[in-house]
Amino acid sequence: MGQDPGTGTLPMPEPLDLLQGTLDMLILKAVSLGPLHGYGILLRIEQISGGRLEIQQGSLYPALYRLQHQGWIASAWGESENKRKARYYRLTTAGRRRLQAETEKWHRMAEVMAGILRATPEEV
């Protein structure tokens, strides 16, 4: 039947919103410590999470493209350690502000959640 013209590709599994937001933050944080290419970002996230977080490789690049589309990160082509061409991402000023704002929001949320989860039947 060949390429179906009307439907595009088969539908993708919807990423969990929370996961998407978290991934974004992780990427911004990783890049805030210094410019990296995509693979490097992956490694760094695993590194700073002490190996406790494993990122789905397939969802990394769409996230990177989205963040760049929105202006939080910017990219430039450069040379990797082994002299191969790679695209490097860095945090923009707007991105830095965004990371800060999101981090604050996360902390606040964590406090609120912790408070709720700590509540005993008597306190309610």
């Binding site: 009307g6 439907t7 590709t9 290419h37 397939g58 493209y65 589309h69 082509w77 191969r84």
Partner: protein, 909 residues
């Protein structure tokens, strides 16, 4: 903080450099996989195995790429491009349908674009003055008469007492004989005398030199003038050195102080402006009350046009109290400048234009309905393809989107063709455009294919595409039973209820709109016909008119004027081809000069306040009335014996006889003119003629007119020479020789005759009476032709559409019909069934359409003459016409239904 700017930039960059996006994405992901594989290999895995593991761990590369594309927003453009390519392929596969649809849409879109452009030029486009919506145009009105200009009395009062205007100013129409060495041939140029702040009120500044200052405008001030851009380029080659030179205007050496910007020719197509240099105080009352001026005023910020108008009317009422002798029955009227320029006092022009826009919009709706019908029919043949796509996961919205893109593509093709059509129509519209404007013809009468029109075209095209495509797309995409469709193929017997409803809606809509269009067209055509056949009171055929203004200097003494008149007539009458000639101060239906006089009848009590006995004041030579071909009702016409020194006489019109001498015989009675501060001799009425339509704007009524011998009335009015060409009607009834019949051919000889009497006397505004009348009725003729054409086209399209829909509907029901026939139903019953259904829909459409037309036609009421907006005869005739034609369109499909072969129909089931 909004990410919109960044997203837009990113999207744009991705779309424009699509291949680069893909390459870089490729390279990036490849690098990632290689890096990962390297790391694995460093841990001891074989390179090839490492590569494989890397790919597995990554997951779907293509899926990731698609995700990236979505993230950047090119997914949407991708889809669009795919839809367009697919749509184009579908359209190519069915060239017949595509061609018909495109032509239909092109017709509708093109007509709309052309009309929009013309209406835009007249009603919307910017005029070459500052902020034209805040400029008021002032005139005065008298009950039952053509509007007049402003008098000093009124203007002075307005200036002193108003609170609505930042600025107000007057100007007077003048014309100038441009003579002298600079000018090879004497030319009469229209112009104006304006106050110093006239241009300032309009916000217009000269492009070279300076405007007028207060010092220029005092009585006895310098002879200075401003030249218009057109004249400057035409006669003086755009030479900037003209500023500072002098020209001979009306025999007076005048210094040119400035050139006005292009496109500005206000008032009255002026090309030369001089300062008014008039006193406004200390003038005798008669002069104060003379209505010579055109007034413009600029509204103060925050004041509305209505407020200004109300104030003008209040001032007018005050003046009526203060100066009853001259102000009885007068009122002051203000209107936006544009309306004044179109001389659209009763909004007739505006209404006609709006009706036109409405009609052409209706035509487009019919076109959309036709195309929608085509698409609906085609949607069914594509049921299978769509069902398969839906089954493979395409959402309802996705399919609808793709189908709408297809119809947008059709519309786009129609739009391009329509643009070409509009471009071809514009020159036609421009020449046919009857609407005369007092000024700024360069803007008002020049519709163009410009940015605005293209934007309008684009918008209309998009709307058309959606309007004609949405319903069919909806129906097609939602084809209910997918499984059955896929199994059993395209043509289905038993049209679904929803499908039948859609078709029914189309039929009713088309009939209704066609009905409304036909009513509109029918009314306007009838209106024009009544106007055309209206009794003029004189014989217009083979009449030639020429206008002359004798300059004040050499013709200051009235005997010189009278001598001029006699000599010119003597020479002209002797020319070959001239049957008769006469001179008047204002020929019927001309607007250059329209003098009036208040009259009073001997022995009758003086007119009461509120009564204004006014007659059109026409000073004519002997033989004029015969030349015009008026009908004598009683007594005699003016003759050579009526000259200076003999008994003052007058010939009056029937209306004047009715008003002045109700129920009595006016012959032998005496009548005279009333003017404050002056006494006129009594005149004896010697003749009564049938009413002549002297007025142009008030052709719906007959005004009182009196004709006085030119030689007996001292005046300095301009002259209209009226010449009747002889017609060579052979006794055998042979055709008229064109040479004899056409009065225009006499023009050069007549000019020559005039020049022989007075060298350097310009002759202007040469036209034949039939031409003039065509111009007078031009708006009505234009509307009638256009509306008639639109109605006829609409009818044709609707009938075609109707036939198509009915034929299609029958085709869809072939199976059901075959079944019925096989079960023994007589063919005649089938025929009745099909025809009956059609007839019901037509009836519904007629009802809705005529009801709508009755409501809408009320808007036309002001523009109609001699026929009421709700004229029952028209409505009935159109109902019958449409019913008959529409039924005919249904008969063919009904007959085909009758002839269905049951075996064939059932077999294809």
């Amino acid at each position: 903080m909004t990410t919109l700017p960044s997203r837009l930039r990113s999207w744009l960059a991705s779309v424009l450099r699509r291949s680069r996006l893909e390459r870089e994405m490729d390279a990036e992901l490849r690098f990632h996989l290689e890096a990962y594989a390297d790391d694995l290999a460093a841990g001891g895995v074989q390179p090839r195995e490492a590569a494989r593991q890397a790919r597995l761990a990554f997951g779907g590369v293509d899926r990731a790429k698609e995700g990236c594309r979505e993230a950047v927003g090119v997914g949407f453009t991708d889809d669009l491009r795919r839809d367009l390519r697919y749509g184009a392929r579908m359209l190519r596969k069915d060239p017949g349908l595509t061609a018909v649809a495109v032509v239909t849409l092109a017709l509708g879109i093109g007509a709309n674009a052309a009309i929009f452009s013309a209406v835009d030029a007249l009603l919307l486009r910017r005029l070459p003055v500052a902020d034209p919506d805040r400029v008021l145009f002032g005139i005065t009105m008298r009950e039952g008469f053509d509007p007049f200009g402003m008098s000093v009395l009124e203007f002075a009062a307005i200036r002193e007492r108003n609170h609505a205007f930042a600025d107000s100013s007057v100007g007077e129409q003048r014309s100038f004989n441009l003579t002298g060495r600079e000018v090879p041939e004497p030319e009469r140029v229209p112009g104006a005398a304006i106050e110093a702040d006239f241009l300032g009120t309009l916000g217009v500044r000269p492009q070279l030199g300076r405007g007028f200052v207060a010092a220029d405008d005092r009585p006895g001030g310098p002879a200075v003038a401003l030249i218009g851009d057109g004249l400057w380029r035409r006669r003086f080659g755009g030479d900037p050195g003209l500023v500072g030179r002098t020209l001979d205007l009306n025999g007076r050496s005048t210094a040119i102080v400035g050139i006005l910007p292009p496109g500005f020719d206000y008032p009255n197509l002026a090309e030369i402006w001089v300062p008014l240099q008039s006193r406004f105080h200390g003038l005798p009352l008669a002069e104060l009350a003379a209505h010579r001026f055109g007034m413009v005023a600029r509204l103060l910020p925050g004041v509305s046009m209505e407020q200004a108008e109300a104030e003008l009317q209040a001032i007018s009422r005050d003046l009526e109290r203060e100066y009853p002798q001259v102000r009885r029955g007068w009122s002051i009227k203000g209107m936006p400048l544009r309306q004044g320029l179109l001389w659209d006092l009763n909004h007739r022009v505006e209404r006609s234009l709006v009706a036109l826009v409405g009609a052409v919009g209706f035509l487009l709706l019919i076109c959309c309905a036709n195309v929608a019908g085509l698409l609906l029919a085609r949607g069914v043949t594509r049921e299978r393809e769509i069902a398969v796509r839906r089954a493979l996961g395409a959402s309802f919205g996705r399919v609808v989107r793709q189908l709408v893109v297809e119809s947008l593509l059709l519309a786009a093709l129609g739009g391009v063709a329509g643009a070409l059509l509009a471009r071809g129509l514009l020159p036609v519209l421009r020449t046919l455009n009857p609407i005369e404007t007092l000024a700024f013809a360069g803007v008002l009468r020049a519709p163009q294919l410009d940015g605005r029109m293209l934007a309008f075209l684009a918008a209309v095209t998009m709307l058309t595409g959606v309007a004609s495509g949405l319903l069919p797309a909806w129906r097609a995409a939602g084809a209910a039973d997918l499984a059955r469709s896929i199994q059993q193929g395209g043509q289905r017997s038993g049209a679904s209820a929803a499908g039948r409803r859609s078709l029914a809606v189309l039929v009713v809509a088309e009939v209704a709109i066609a009905a409304a269009l036909l009513v509109g067209g029918g009314l306007m055509v009838q209106s024009f016909q009544r106007l055309h056949r209206m009794q003029l009171g004189f014989r217009p055929e083979r009449l030639l008119l020429l206008h002359m203004e004798l300059p004040a200097g050499p013709y200051h003494a009235f005997p010189r004027r009278a001598a001029f008149v006699e000599q010119v007539l003597q020479r002209v009458r002797q020319l070959p081809g001239v049957a008769a000639a006469g001179i008047t101060v204002s020929a019927p239906q001309t607007v250059l000069n329209m003098p009036d006089a208040i009259f009073t009848v001997e022995g009758q009590p003086p007119p009461r306040p509120g009564e204004v006995p006014i007659a059109a004041h026409r000073l004519v030579s002997a033989g004029y009335l015969e030349t015009l071909g008026v009908t004598l009702v009683a007594g005699r016409l003016l003759g050579e014996q009526d000259r200076l020194g003999s008994q003052p006489v007058a010939v009056i019109s029937e209306e004047l006889a009715r008003q002045g001498f109700p129920g009595k015989d006016p012959i032998g009675k005496r009548i005279r003119r009333l003017r404050p501060g002056e006494t006129f001799p009594w005149m004896t009425v010697v003749g009564v003629v049938k009413d002549v339509k002297e007025d142009r704007d008030n052709f719906r009524i007959n005004r009182p007119v009196w004709y006085l011998p030119y030689a007996q009335q001292v005046n300095d009015y301009p002259l209209d020479l009226v010449v009747r060409a002889s017609g060579a009607l052979g006794s055998s009834g042979a055709k008229e020789s064109a040479e004899h019949g056409d009065p225009a051919r006499l023009a050069p000889a007549i000019r020559h005759a005039v020049t022989a009497v007075a060298p350097a006397q310009p002759v202007s505004d040469v036209t034949t009476m039939p031409e003039l009348l065509t111009r007078v009725l031009a708006t009505e003729r234009f509307s009638a032709i256009l509306m008639g054409a639109l109605a006829a086209t609409g009818l044709l399209l609707a009938v075609i559409g109707l036939y198509g829909v009915m034929a299609y509907s029958v085709r869809r029901q072939t199976g059901e019909i075959g079944l019925r026939l096989a079960l023994g139903a007589p063919p005649a019953e089938i025929f009745k069934m099909v025809l009956g259904r059609g007839a019901r829909l037509i009836a519904a459409g007629l009802l809705i359409g005529l009801a709508g037309a009755a409501a809408l036609s009320r808007l036309l009421a002001a523009t109609l003459y001699g026929v009421a907006a709700g004229d029952p005869l028209t409505f009935v005739a159109i109902a019958l016409l449409l019913a008959a034609v529409a039924t005919l369109a249904c008969i063919l499909p009904a007959r085909r239904a009758m002839r269905v072969d049951p075996l064939v129909a059932l077999r294809s089931e």
